[in-house]
């Protein structure tokens, strides 16, 4: 249990840092999805299944999708120049 907690925490923290650290917006969104998944895993460790899957549904499923959608519809031109 402790090892799982440690792995999930490190995964969540690294993903969270990479959200602000990565240069590409889409990569940030992917890391955000990873961080939120890690948080859902921590909820699962606390035996809070409902909260965990609600977290996946609302944050990973809806919020990150909307963020990605917005990025793709608005910032495509700049990203192509950046490469």
């Amino acid at each position: 249990m402790d090892i799982v907690f440690l792995v999930l925490s490190i995964f969540t923290i690294i993903s969270s840092i990479m959200v602000v650290g990565s240069k590409q917006l889409v990569h940030s969104a992917v890391y955000l999805a990873g961080a939120l998944m890690g948080t859902a895993g921590l909820f699962l460790l606390l035996k809070a299944e409902f909260v965990a899957w609600a977290q996946v549904l609302v944050y990973v499923g809806a919020v990150v999708t909307l963020i990605l959608f917005t990025i793709m519809l608005t910032r495509k031109g700049e990203e192509e120049n950046g490469e």
Partner: protein
């Protein structure tokens, strides 16, 4: 009404394996062997790995059979023979296709985002496979009876659009991106009626566990009408079916890969093994969604018990018959119906299906509160 916190757990595949080993009389010997080593948990891990392997093989075999069935049915509708050369009636065609795809060169476009391009097909495939975990294939033939099984299924399905969007974006191709954006717009607008109609069933059952939902549908009204939720909620069933077909992106709603407009949608640039991943995920999704429809509305594995045959086996057969009926319907629809327009699709989703789903939920709540059922 809420019974999700109950302490009694329904038997799952792990208990079934332990029961079978006990029946043969070897469980205690094996357990004793691992206890001598002081590593009881290794036995648990081995049993879980066996369950996962069986599930994976079962799903992959079904997927291969489904891809053959789809081509064969399409051929019959068009008065052709379909695949005939490899094996009896072309039954080994999926294996030949698989070998061909494995042997193909794995091309990554020069301007593609390598990491995300590689990651996306695996995320699609894994998220589809995860849906099978709380799916009851028969009595105690379930990997894990989660207390929030239905919420879990909806939550995992909600992750798929992200990977589709990433696949389309990482390909760096305008057709891929268009396909991905269409697929996700469709996915998020049809997840809402899907979830609301599922909630209407949960209102009747009082539990999110898939096994509890199936158990609630055992028995008969007036002695001959099975207590399936399709009879209790015909509107909910139709809405759920339409929403599921839209979620899968099959023909009346296949905007993500409409061949005449976009080359192949979000997987235009994919080839070889990664294309095979999308292909497998598509048919695994068809199987999973049909299983969910059967579980929620068509009584799951319930059916009359036969003498001398263990009910675990008969229930699996009932489940597969019902699932293949739903799959047959989806394939039949694909072969005979033209595609709708994208604006019609979104109008149908937002202006008709969501209000009807809410009405359905309201009716269900009234019926349950009034105590009719």
């Amino acid at each position: 009404m809420w019974t999700g916190d109950k302490m009694i757990t329904n038997p799952n595949a792990y208990d079934l394996i332990v029961a079978i080993l006990n029946a043969i009389g070897v469980y205690n010997i094996i357990l004793g062997f691992f206890q001598d080593l002081g590593m009881e948990y290794i036995l648990r891990v081995i049993i879980v790995l066996v369950i996962i392997a069986v599930l994976l093989v079962f799903v992959l075999l079904t997927v291969m059979f489904l891809s053959w069935l789809e081509r064969k049915m399409f051929a019959v509708v068009q008065s052709r023979y379909g695949p005939m050369v490899t094996g009896p009636r072309g039954l080994f065609q999926p294996i030949a296709d698989g070998i061909k795809l494995l042997g193909k060169e794995d091309i990554i476009p020069a301007k593609a985002d390598r990491w995300i391009f590689t990651l996306a097909p695996f995320v699609v495939f894994v998220s589809v496979l995860l849906v099978f975990i709380p799916l009851p294939f028969g009595r105690s033939l379930i990997v894990s009876d989660l207390k929030v099984g239905l919420l879990y299924i909806i939550a995992i399905s909600a992750v798929t659009p992200i990977s589709i969007l990433l696949a389309g974006w990482a390909s760096n191709n305008k057709y891929s991106l268009m396909g991905a954006i269409r697929a996700v717009a469709q996915d998020i607008s049809y997840t809402i009626p899907l979830a609301i109609t599922a909630i209407a069933v949960v209102v009747f059952v009082g539990s999110l566990s898939t096994v509890d939902i199936v158990n609630a549908q055992s028995g008969y009204w007036f002695g001959f009408i099975p207590k399936w939720f399709i009879f209790l909620q015909p509107l909910g069933f139709i809405l759920f079916l339409i929403a599921c077909i839209a979620e899968m992106g099959r023909i009346p709603f296949d905007f993500q890969e409409s061949e005449q407009e976009l080359v192949a949608g979000f997987f235009t640039e994919y080839s070889g093994m990664k294309f095979a991943m999308f292909f497998l995920a598509e048919y695994a999704h068809l199987f999973a969604v049909s299983g969910i429809i059967v579980t929620i509305f068509l009584g799951g594995w319930t059916g009359p018990a036969l003498p001398f045959i263990p009910f675990e086996l008969t229930s699996l057969i009932y489940f597969m018959i019902k699932t293949y009926a739903v799959i047959f319907f989806a394939m039949w629809l694909r072969d005979t119906v033209p595609r709708v327009r994208i604006d019609q699709l979104l109008n149908l989703g937002w202006k008709i299906m969501i209000p009807l789903a809410l009405l359905n939920l309201l009716l269900a709540a009234f019926v349950v509160t009034a105590g009719v059922i």
